[in-house]
Symmetry: C2
Subunit: 393 residues, 2 copies
């Protein structure tokens, strides 16, 4: 038959990142391209034990259909942790377990985005959010993300210009792709804008627990709880394969996102929710995180040192205090896509910055991931990368 | 802040089935309301073993991010089973693992449904499909589902009337809610309409493996492969908690639904996919299904016998050859909602038919589930139900 697609999907094409990751999977290539957590740090034995404990104690009940909102003790654990870490008093009823925080983005798009409506997003912005929201066809309004956070002058100008935006999306801690975090002052000023302009922020926080230096900063959800949906994920802190994340929603949004969740997949994998909860109560998440932060912190330092040693003048890069990514800005004349082809010849890979922009004009940026590469390999990979770059300058 | 919702979600309200299931959860009540598979039949020990085997053999690799399309050996297993059961030659590349078949409905809605476009659906129809598709705001066009399958005269009339429908949704085996199946002749005639009218059928088949009498009939996807998306699920055959289902899509649809899946949850729980596959290759699914069919078949027979003994004249019911549900039609004057309130006084519960209709006019039908209730309890429950009914007549 003749293919047909809904209007919203007619122009959708596959992300070229998939192609890049295929190239980067060649074992001869040093890859700074992936966005994967380091599997050497996965708590395999403890997960094995948790699976056995859940099945032996709960039996068939662990394998039945379950509540759309998620496993109640897991929601309580998350609420307790917000209290312990940030002094945030959270009602576990307002926590909805999702199939990764990616699903939270989709559900929020379903419930909140009308076609053509302005949606404010960081520039550069998280590709997964751009993809999830694009399905609902908002008019993206990019606001520059700088070393201190969102450019509030640009935000104020947009809001003063009569924008009909009701939603703002951002990743305040160790952003993907840039690695930068919003300062405390930036958070406070932004929270004020949310309230005064009746904006809802989708505060995506998959990396907040992975701070290896500096002080933890309050979630914007703590500063403006009625104007924020706070997303969290166990993919970077425990394991990604379970696809478990959550959203903390204000009261007014709870029922509609629950209905959207029910229509989308009934509920998230209930066995994995119970296993994850068992892992969390029988082990110290903090002790586990210390191990991750020690490794990622060392690797980030190695990458910064290698860049400092080998980068030609005119290249700048961010200095993340946590997370998995670092962001390079090349001289304006250099295309990161062209550099990618040259770098592959040198057997090193990265992700060019283009897909992180909703405006395609900026060509000279790229993302480097340090989570899965040891220090010696980082040194060698950065050498290769700068060799490719030197040829282009 | 002032609540706001996308236009598509403004009018969405929670399903009253949730309220019904809460009432039915009272342990004093005999419940024919739920749609749950019988947990006594879950292969708990074999799943436990499969978890251990996967983690010990694959280690951290079993817990990493994975391909959007799903675990390749699981997709191959599904393809092999279509060949063995139905002589269907299926390319595993065309099988996409989903987070339950509920997610397949959402993804198809995303990729295929434009607002206001006709969507043909059985009457009564599966509530989960109505919910999933409603998000994308089609104009539902109900076609009566009778003992032999879809009413083709009504379908032809709709197609001749200038409907712009491109999609048709149905559950040809032991439908939820009615328990009826499409006959062979109905399938063949429907497949012809799909091809001649360039219609795409979403053929939802969660119960096809649960036939306890009669002969297996070919999927419509075998008769019109380019015009059918065939959905399957492991929720009724293995366990629901894993939320694993699949869709078999024609070539022309594969790339777009994969992109939609990636934007929605990146991929389905990869650990559970590997555990499920391990269970399937280390155990006989057929032997496991025999046990389920033996129990459900006995319980369906007990329910039919009890209805025959106790029902007053003017009540008719379907005689499913498989699945989990049976459908009652009351005298036209009796509202199933009112009967529900009376039945609760007698401590028996069911699901009134109303939410299974996209037109709300029909009030005198209801669904009974026989999957989770033993034969003696079925006899007692039907007695209570007919006692409540007798009071209303």
């Amino acid at each position: 038959m003749q293919p047909f697609f809904a209007q919203r999907f007619e122009k959708v094409e596959p992300s070229f990142i998939r192609e890049i990751l295929k190239v980067a999977a060649n074992p001869e290539i040093i890859s700074f391209a992936g966005g994967l957590p380091n599997p050497h740090l996965f708590p395999v034995k403890a997960i094995d034990q948790a699976c056995q404990d859940v099945l032996r104690e709960q039996g068939a009940a662990a394998l039945q259909y379950a509540a759309t909102e998620g496993f109640a003790p897991l929601r309580q654990y998350i609420a307790d942790r917000y209290l312990a870490r940030h002094g945030m008093s959270v009602n576990p009823d307002n926590i909805l377990i999702t199939s990764g925080s990616q699903q939270a983005l989709d559900l929020l798009g379903k419930v909140l985005i009308d076609e053509g409506q302005d949606l404010i997003i960081e520039e550069p912005g998280y590709l997964g959010a751009i993809q999830a929201f694009s399905v609902y066809q908002p008019a993206f309004q990019p606001i520059t993300l700088g070393e201190e956070g969102l450019d509030l002058v640009a935000l104020d100008a947009l809001l003063a210009s009569g924008s009909n935006a009701k939603l703002l999306y951002g990743v305040p801690n160790f952003q993907n792709p840039s690695g930068v975090s919003y300062s405390r002052a930036n958070r406070e000023a932004l929270a004020e804008r949310l309230v005064s302009h009746e904006l809802l922020m989708v505060e995506d926080d998959p990396y907040g627990e992975l701070r290896f230096e500096g002080e933890h900063l309050p979630p914007i959800a703590k500063l403006a709880p009625n104007n924020t949906v706070l997303l969290g994920s166990f993919s970077k802190t425990v394991v990604p394969a379970f696809r478990l994340g959550w959203m903390l929603v204000p009261d007014w949004l709870r029922q509609k996102v629950t209905i959207a969740k029910q229509a989308t997949d009934l509920h998230s994998n209930a066995f994995s929710q119970q296993v994850l909860h068992r892992f969390l109560i029988d082990n110290s998440l903090d002790a586990h995180l210390e191990k991750i932060k020690e490794v990622y912190g060392r690797q980030r330092a190695a990458m910064e040192a290698a860049l400092a040693r080998h980068c030609p003048p005119g290249v700048s890069y961010t200095r993340p205090e946590g997370g998995m990514f670092l962001w390079l800005t090349l001289p304006a004349s250099v295309s990161a896509m062209t550099l990618f082809d040259e770098a592959i010849k040198e057997k090193v890979a990265f992700v060019p910055g283009a897909p992180f922009y909703v405006r395609p004009e900026i060509k000279n940026t790229l993302r480097l991931s340090f989570s899965c590469v040891d220090e010696a390999t980082i040194e060698e990979g950065v050498k290769r990368l700068t060799r490719a770059l030197a040829r282009m300058l």
